[in-house]
Structure formats: C-alpha cells, structure tokens
Symmetry: C2
Subunit: 98 residues, 2 copies
C-alpha cells in the first residue's frame, strides 16, 4: 500500500461523511452555534442533523449544551478542542493525499 | 447555505467514499491495472473490491475488461475519460472547500 492510499485509508470516517463534514466545517468557523442555524445552513432536517450531532458528540468532537433563550429551549453546539484538532488533521491528510 | 457548505454538499458521493477514493486515486496514476494489483494496494478483500468496482462501472467512471493472461483469467481496470474528469473535479472542489 503506497503512502497516498494509506493516507486515504486512515482518514477519520467520523469527519469524512459529507453531512458531518459540513457540520464540522461550519462549527470550525464560529465560537458556537445553535441548532437552528446549523439546520438552516446545512439544509438538513431535524432528525438527520440530530443523528450526525450525536455521532460527533460520541466521538468527543462536539459539545452539546441545552439551555433557554428567555423561555425558548435552545441547543448550542461547539467544536471541542479534540474536534478542532481532528478537523485540522483530516484537512491536512486529505490535502496531502489529493 | 454558504459557498463552502454548498461545495461539500455537492461532492460526488461515488468518489468520496474512502474505498472508492482509494481505487480512483490508484487508477488515476496508471494507464490500467489488474484486479490483483488493486486488491494488494488497497488491502480490500475480493468481495469489497468487486462491489466498489461495480459501483464505479455503473457511474461510467471505470471500464472493466475480462481477458486472459495465457490461460489465466484476468480482470483489467481502467479509469474512463469521465472517471478522470470526475476525480479532477472532486479534488478541485475538496481543495476549495477545505
């Protein structure tokens, strides 16, 4: 297996999946985001976005905080330090491989 | 949806899948390859590799030729013009998005 192929084989699949790649790229650019903003920007329905966020939370890449804005429940999302690092690493590998 | 996110959303899923990305990257670098070489280079088992190649063939990205080397059956794989173009486009988009 040559170096390029090994790099592709080693890509972080949690981040590589296009739906999650969109979410991580969006969160990478901001301090934090709420669920509705992510939904609007990705065009995903609630279930799909929730499912991707759960996967990212399990991986330790995204921190989910449930709070209130006045009386309205709000879900805030933030990329963790591990998440930022994983995205940078993913980007570095992909650039190298392609 | 911002431009970066739209670019990620529009990525060619046939090529984006890591197994197929390995195959396409390998075939992009050579004129043609036989099945066993691809199997060795990707580390995939026969079934997985066949399944990815079928998907690439359906998309018109890979041409599969069954032939003989002496009396031994041989399967030759080649990236089509459309496949080369799709890979270049995929690479261009991904670089732009990341």
């Amino acid at each position: 297996m040559n170096q390029q192929i090994r790099t592709i084989a080693d890509l972080d699949r949690v981040i590589h999946e296009p739906g999650r790649l969109m979410i991580v790229a969006l969160l990478f650019a901001v301090e934090r985001s709420d669920f509705l903003y992510l939904q609007h920007e990705t065009g995903m329905n609630k279930g799909t976005l929730s499912s991707h966020l759960s996967r990212l939370e399990e991986a330790g890449y995204v921190e989910v905080t449930k709070t209130y804005r006045g009386k309205v429940p709000q879900t805030l999302l933030r990329l963790t330090g591990a998440g930022r690092k994983a995205f940078e690493e993913y980007r570095r590998k992909l650039r190298k491989a392609l």
